[in-house]
Structure formats: structure tokens, C-alpha cells
Symmetry: C2
Subunit: 191 residues, 2 copies
């Protein structure tokens, strides 16, 4: 019975690694209603690396795909990218990113996360931002882990329409719509 439970739990864990790769051991423990220690042992048995390592591995594999900007210019960690289609990045909010008075993260960090992710998914040798419309839906604070998802909505000539949503846990904190413009790699910008 105990062995059967464990088999089911470990098979769920393997599934979660695909659908919820950014869950911490704590999150997984809650989800499966076991102790964090059990999750750690399960991961060890199954050869699943810890969260930090998982993110690093994903980021390394993903970075290579970026074309339109330099991959290190993507704000936060780029952890998924389907060129010309969609992308996901993670950003940890640290002390240096918040306003002294309000303790709220400066808008430029969410902008940079969204903007660089939007640029990264463009399948062109170079691209720049043309238009950006943004809504800050809830304040972001130190320690928050932001997950940005970007999607190419449509393309018209050298103009790319990309939507980005940023969540803090399950709460949407920011959304943006960009019009990005691809540039010729020879012959200079065509803005």
C-alpha cells in the first residue's frame, strides 16, 4: 500500500516537472500532501535536480535560441522560447529594484522583463521596440518571483505584435502589448 502510494506520487512528480517546472519543493510538498523531506528523497531517487539547477539547465538550453538581441540581454532568466511564437522568463525582485519610499518595484524592471522577452521571441536578426502599452495591475515587492509569458499575436511586414503577461504566483501583476520592428542586419535600421 505504502509502496503503491509512493509509485503514484513519484509518477505525479514526474508529470509536475513538465507542467509546473518552477514549483519549489515546498509547493510540491503541499500539492502532494507530503513533507518537504519526502519530496527531496523522491527527487533524489528520480534524478530530478533541485529548482535552481532546473532553472539553470532550462535557461542554458533556451538562451541559444535567441536571435534578435543578445541572449544575455534578456532580463531575468529565459526559460522557454519558441522562436516566432512564445517565450517565458523568470525575474526575482531584489532590494535594489524597489523605490525607497513605497517599497514597490520600479516599473522599469517589469518593463525590461516584458520588453526583452518580447524582443527575444522575434525570429529576425535584429529588432527594436516601436510601441509599448502597459498596465501595472498590482504592486510588486522584494522577494516576489515574476513569471513573464510572451506570445506573438500577429505579424504585419516587419512589425510584430507581442503580448506579455507577468504573474506573481497566480496573481497577474502586469500586462503589456508591444509592437516590435525587425531591422535589416545590413543596410541599417528600417524604423
Amino acid at each position: 500500500m505504502k509502496r503503491e502510494k509512493k509509485r503514484i506520487r513519484q509518477s505525479l512528480l514526474i508529470d509536475y516537472m513538465k507542467t509546473k517546472p518552477f514549483f519549489t519543493d515546498e509547493d510540491l510538498a503541499k500539492l502532494l500532501n507530503v513533507s518537504i523531506q519526502t519530496i527531496r528523497l523522491d527527487r533524489l531517487e528520480l534524478g530530478i535536480p533541485e529548482l535552481r539547477e532546473r532553472i539553470k539547465q532550462l535557461a542554458e538550453a533556451t538562451q541559444k535560441k535567441v536571435k534578435s538581441i543578445s541572449s544575455k540581454e534578456v532580463s531575468g532568466e529565459l526559460i522557454d522560447l519558441e522562436l516566432g511564437k512564445s517565450g517565458i522568463s523568470l525575474l526575482n525582485i531584489t532590494e535594489d529594484m524597489v523605490f525607497e519610499k513605497s517599497r514597490v518595484a520600479k516599473g522599469e524592471y517589469m518593463f525590461a522583463q516584458a520588453n526583452s522577452l518580447a524582443l527575444a521571441l522575434i525570429d529576425a536578426p535584429m529588432a527594436v521596440t516601436g510601441v509599448a502599452n502597459m498596465k501595472y495591475k498590482a504592486p510588486v515587492h522584494v522577494g516576489d518571483k515574476l513569471v513573464a509569458k510572451a506570445e506573438l499575436k500577429h505579424r504585419r511586414g516587419n512589425k510584430f505584435f507581442v503580448w506579455v503577461k507577468i504573474k506573481n504566483g497566480t496573481k497577474e501583476v502586469f500586462r503589456a502589448k508591444f509592437i516590435l520592428v525587425s531591422l535589416e542586419s545590413n543596410g541599417g535600421p528600417k524604423v
Copy 2:
């Protein structure tokens, strides 16, 4: 005759210091059709400090007025501020601000200049960004000197509608419309 010319030129120079305080000696020389050396001598005689010093003096006097954020959080140099009304800031584009590939300044720098200037002019103890709509009208490059002008268009309750335009010389390179939200200094955010 020569003395008369000089008198007129110096009187023009004094006027320019009010209307065009960010002109370089080179700009002024062109404008008055004399050598840069002549401008320098005129400045010396009239006790007008050099451009860098003029900006520094203006920035020091202006910073003290900022209420809603910490004055050092204003991106670039804040050189004019009428609290609750308008503001002007300067930003020099440096090597670290441009994309490696396109050599175009990253959108986040213009965003940060505009956004922090917009926040700075809010006459409230704290404020954050709610909505930002932006248009990047022309690419900005290393060495460009950006002048941002922000204006409070209207206010509704704790919402402030601020428009910002950024020029590079005479060319408008960026414009943004913000809705900023003032926060209660006690009792936490009211977003």
C-alpha cells in the same frame, strides 16, 4: 563698433542662458557666429559657468523639490521641476545602454527616464505607475543627449495623467502617457 558687437553678443548670451541653458559652447558659437574661444571668454567675463556646472547647479536646486519618490531615483539629471505641473530631465546615452547587435538604446532607459520624471512631478508623498503607453519614434544611439519634458495633464482623485516627450536635439524620439497613482503614506498602498 567691435565693442558694440560684443555688448550685443553678451546680452544675447545672457538671454540664451535662460531659454537654452543646455546649449554647449559649440552650439552657442554657431548660434552667435563666433568662435568657441570667444564664447568661453564671454562666459568668463559674465561669470557664466560651463555647461556641466550649469546642469549640476540646476539639478541640485531642483532635486530638493521631489516628494513622491527619492530624488536620486530620477533617471538622468532632473533640471527643472514645478511640483504638480511639469518637469525636465537630461539623460546621456552611454555604451552600456545600447543593444549589442542593433546599437540602439534599450527601451527601458527611455521608459525609466520618462517614468521617473513623471513620478517626480507628482505632488504626493508617494506614487506608483498604473498605466504607461509609449511610442518609440526614432532610434537613439550612444552619445545622444535626451531631454525629457513631462506635464501633468489632469488629475482625478488619486490618479494623475502625465504626458512625457523625449527629444534628441530637435527630433522627438519618444513619447509616453502615464496614469500614476498616489499612495497613502500611512495605511499602505491604495492601487
